[in-house]
């Protein structure tokens, strides 16, 4: 087991900065996800942890050991590649046994350990097959075995579900989680899929263009996004973001957007804001935090249903205010027709307000896991 600590890690490839001054404390025995769009530097971080890349600046610690100069084979890290990277000419058994063979372990010991791990991952019946004779999901399990058979302190997974079809993805997600918990191994996974990150990880680090945006538990990221990027990247369906400005009338605070949308801002949400009229703001609220009310008098917001999207379990109602749209999630059984005028009630505690210039959240800083202490947010 190991606590992993990234201290001011920067990686440049020529003039391109792939990872920019990232600090992370990764607790042992947990699953941590590195989440971000492609090209955000998440895989680069993973390969630096594996030792395949060397950081340009900064230090990586496994517990108290600085590992920058330690070659990959001595780090005792297991890595599962996105493409699995199984040796095509070897059987599953030979693939899994390869790292042990290189350690010159006795044959009987190799046999024992391969069978042990094959049992945990449940691929005992596949050991004689070559990668070409296995499905993607089976190949992935073999790759997982190969990474785990060394009994690594740290397991790294690069986009573990991206090459699987939807059904298999669900199954594998649970399976990886089960294996991780069974072995209690510190796991870091890289993904671009927020659902994957939120469901599999105990904590998530959101990255964009090489810069760490926010680090916290899935709940914290969803409930208290630190900035617009995190707010819009996480959550499905995505958060409603409305551009507008503040307006004060008779001591009450309103959020005005264009000509047609004027929403009273609940006092609770307005509390943290500067009381400057005309201040440009972005208001964010998730579709599931808006409620439809029939009592029009009580409803703070009112709108006409522009579009009804059926999502299976839910319905997504699309209201239009000028050129801005507001989506509301309701149960699939909710009776609603296109063109109906309904009252909308926001759940005040879930309103987010962002500064359009900096993108930072203005409704109080999220509390939760911090990147390491000496990190200055950019």
């Amino acid at each position: 087991m190991a606590n992993v600590r990234l201290k001011n890690i920067t990686k440049r490839f020529g003039s391109v900065t792939a990872v920019n001054n990232v600090c992370l404390d990764i607790p042992h025995g947990k699953v941590t996800a590195l989440l971000g769009p492609s090209g955000c530097g998440k895989t680069t971080i993973l390969l630096m942890l594996a030792g395949i890349y060397k950081p340009t600046e900064g230090e990586i610690y496994f517990d108290d050991l600085q590992v920058n100069g330690i070659p990959p084979q001595l780090r005792n890290v297991g890595l599962v590649f996105q493409s699995y990277a199984l040796y095509p000419h070897m059987t599953a058994f030979e693939n899994i046994a390869f790292p042990l063979k290189l350690k010159k372990l006795p044959k009987a010991e190799i046999q024992k350990r391969v069978e042990e791990i094959a049992e945990v991952v449940q691929i005992g019946d596949l050991l004689d097959r070559k990668p070409g004779q296995m499905s993607g999901g089976q190949q992935q399990r073999v790759a997982l075995c190969r990474a785990l058979v060394k009994k690594p302190d740290l397991l790294l997974l690069d986009e573990p579900l991206s090459n699987l079809d939807a059904r298999l993805r669900l199954e594998t997600r649970a399976e990886i989680k089960r294996i991780q918990q069974e072995l209690g191994i510190t796991t870091i996974l890289v993904t671009h899929d927020q659902v994957e990150a939120v469901t599999m990880a105990d904590q998530v680090a959101v990255l964009k263009a090489g810069v760490l945006q926010q680090y916290g538990t899935p709940k914290e990221l969803l409930e208290q996004p630190a900035n617009l990027f995190v707010a819009s990247f996480l959550g499905d369906p995505p958060m409603n973001l409305l551009q507008g400005e503040l307006e004060y009338q008779e001591g009450r605070c309103y959020f005005r957007s264009g000509r047609s949308l004027r929403l009273p801002v609940p006092p609770l949400a307005a509390k943290g804001l500067q009381k400057s009229p005309g201040q440009k703001l972005i208001l964010g609220i998730r579709p599931e935090h808006l409620t439809i009310t029939w009592e029009r008098g009580r409803a703070p917001w009112r709108g006409k249903v522009f579009l009804v999207e059926f999502l299976g379990r839910d319905k997504l109602l699309d209201f239009r205010f000028g050129d801005q749209s507001l989506r509301v999630l309701v149960p699939a059984t909710f009776p609603v027709e296109r063109g109906e005028v309904l009252g909308i009630e926001p759940q005040v505690e879930h309103l987010h307000i962002f500064d359009p210039q900096t993108g930072l959240a203005l409704t109080g800083p999220p509390e939760g896991l911090r990147a390491c202490s000496d990190h200055e947010p950019a």
Binding site: L79, S83, A85, P99, L102, R146
Partner: protein
């Protein structure tokens, strides 16, 4: 439906014609090798000899030390082939996967040697061999051919198609570079390696000019030179039936190897060409 049929017919007709053009000289060779001395030049020529002279093949063995030539040719060809594969794999790996200053320039230079005709290097190489005191020995037949630009090029193109992750995975598994080359790269490159080996073997086996120059003693001769036994020294009537029989004996191992390995052979050339 009909169109594709016509198209197929034309394609096969062309292929058959070309195939026949390739195979006819060979068949003529077989035919001649079974004729008697007087039958060879009979007019009009006949494909099937009146009485197949199988003993021609036995005579050939008696007339010249073919056994010795066979041994010489085999030793030279096998070592040359092995050398070409080994140096080819190592150099190709370096050019395909390792990063060092001037790599691509060196590779280009390497490729450029493909454009230098053999005749140009003949004399300089001879002088080198002579100064080393290697004339009339296996060394002079083997060493100059232990590395070729062609094998390096073919293997490099093939190695480039092997995913980089495999190497990274092997690093994670604690595999050294050399071990990776032998345990992963080489088994995966079987088609390319067999093409390189076959080309190397053929080149060495069929080599005529070079052995003629560097070999003086009868004992050290290789098969192609041995065939000269049946070419008349005076320039007059060669003993064609013996020459053809001997040539067939010389060709036999190559034919067998090609029949056994033709699938891999073609695959190797095709595959390394695709991503080239």
């Amino acid at each position: 439906m009909r169109r594709t049929l016509v198209k197929k017919l034309i394609i096969h007709l062309v292929l058959l014609t070309l195939g026949a053009a390739m195979v006819l000289p060979f068949l003529w060779m077989v035919s001649t090798s079974l004729k008697g001395y007087h039958e060879v030049f009979r007019y009009p020529p006949r494909w099937i000899p009146d009485e197949p002279q199988w003993r021609n093949y036995l005579e050939v063995w008696k007339l010249a030390p073919f056994g010795r030539f066979y041994v010489n040719s085999t030793i030279v060809a096998v070592i040359t082939t092995a050398g070409q594969v080994l140096t080819g794999v190592l150099a190709a790996y370096a050019f395909a996967r390792m990063e060092f200053a001037g790599r691509d320039q060196i590779f280009m230079l390497f490729l450029a040697t493909l454009m230098v005709p053999t005749q140009v290097t003949l004399i300089p190489t001879y002088i080198v061999m002579s100064r080393m005191g290697w004339i009339d020995s296996y060394k002079s037949l083997i060493v100059p051919f232990l590395a070729t630009a062609f094998s390096v090029f073919l293997l490099r193109q093939f190695f480039l198609t092997i995913p980089k992750e495999l190497e990274e995975a092997s690093i994670m598994d604690g595999c050294s570079k050399l071990r990776f080359i032998f345990a992963v790269i080489m088994p995966l490159s079987k088609p390319a390696i067999s093409s390189v080996a076959l080309f190397g073997f053929l080149g060495s086996w069929n080599s005529y000019l070079w052995p003629l120059i560097v070999i003086n003693s009868n004992q050290m001769r290789t098969l192609p030179i041995g065939l000269r036994y049946f070419v008349s020294q005076q320039g007059g009537g060669s003993e064609w039936h013996y020459l053809m029989a001997a040539s067939l004996i010389v060709m036999l191992p190559v034919l067998i190897v090609f029949f056994l390995a033709q699938k891999q052979f073609i695959e190797g050339i095709a595959k390394s060409g695709i991503k080239g």
